[in-house]
């Protein structure tokens, strides 16, 4: 249910990006939602990765934009958590890397910053939901 809701919102976010990209500065809604969900619970990769693939195809006509980096996040997190212990720094670095990979694709700094801010907020609220559920 949560997966479907997040994917539907990500789809709507992608449509917002397409519709109003030239009229206002806006974050990459879909990527922020999907990254926030992935970082809140890395087991979400199973539905987050197809969502990111759809995001890349819809906005950039290529699956090579964010997907390779986002696909690497769960195994890298497992490795780093084993080595360093579960923590925020590695998650924050991976989040920023996944977002700033959009810079060469013509996204402005303000838009990327908005995406990072939105993603951290979604990550915080989603993580809280998982803690309550547990």
């Amino acid at each position: 249910m949560t997966a479907l809701a997040v994917l539907a919102l990500a789809w709507l976010g992608g449509c917002l990006n397409l519709a109003f990209s030239s009229t206002m500065i806006q974050p990459d809604w879909a990527l922020a939602l999907l990254l926030g969900s992935l970082l809140a619970h890395r087991g979400n990769w199973i539905w987050v990765l197809p969502g990111v693939a759809l995001h890349d195809l819809m906005l950039h006509w290529s699956p090579w934009v964010c997907l390779p980096l986002v696909a690497a996040i769960p195994p890298v997190l497992i490795y780093l958590d084993d080595r360093l212990g579960a923590g925020l720094p590695q998650r924050m670095v991976l989040l920023l890397m996944a977002i700033f990979v959009l810079a060469p694709w013509g996204w402005g700094f303000a838009e990327l910053l908005l995406t990072a801010t939105l993603s951290v907020s979604i990550w915080y609220f989603a993580a809280k939901q998982y803690v309550y559920a547990a």
Binding site: G14, N17, A19, S21, M58, H60, S62
Partner: protein, 262 residues
Amino acid sequence: MMQSRSRSWLVAAIILGVLFFVASRAPLGSWTMLAASPALDALYAPVRWWQSFSLWFIDSQTLQARFEVVQQRSQQQAALIQEAGSLREENRQLRKILDISDIPGYRWHAAKVLGRSPDMMSQRILLQVKGVDTDDVIVSSEGLVGLVDSQMGAHATVRTIFDASVAVPVTIPGSTLAALLRGQGDQLIVSFVPLENAPKQGKVLYTSGAGGLFPPGIAVAEITAVRSVPGQLFAEVDAAPIAHWQRDNWLVVASHEKHDTP
């Protein structure tokens, strides 16, 4: 536990591999953008409602002023259409005298911009338009924009001239230049410009009509830099597009007129 985890990663890797293979073979991006078109229509609906609603609160003096501006523009356009008609007739007669075969005709119609890719240069565009085909030419009021990539129902996706897959034969009117303009993401490069024939910075390139895909005489790009490379026959030429489609709400489609072959 470890075995099931590695199995799920293997499944994910296979899915990704299949996705990359399919994406490289089929225009998945274009289809995804087209699939979003009903949602974009719905997103624009409140904007349209607001525009219709706000018309009720415009006073008659403003409406009168707007009407006069539109009337003035309409008169100017009527004069231009008349001039274009006489030039077309003159062109037809000259072609007849010089025995030059006519280029294939184009049908021009307006298209509303429904969406754009969010990159700064808006490399992909979604149009609301009926009766277009793949490879129909898209033009703005300033110059060439790109080509129709695919269409579905009343919607079509456009690859702009920034796309590396679009190559435009260009020339400078009155010169012997026959070059090829190609997109490279966020800039344009002009190939096959002979060093001795290299145009100066600021010159405007127009479609030459070679190949028959693009109608001749449409402004495409302005030359921004010309560099000579030692030992090379051709100059390295950079250009910037003439059209600024990032903010245009309406574009024009030049559809190739279909000629029935006997």
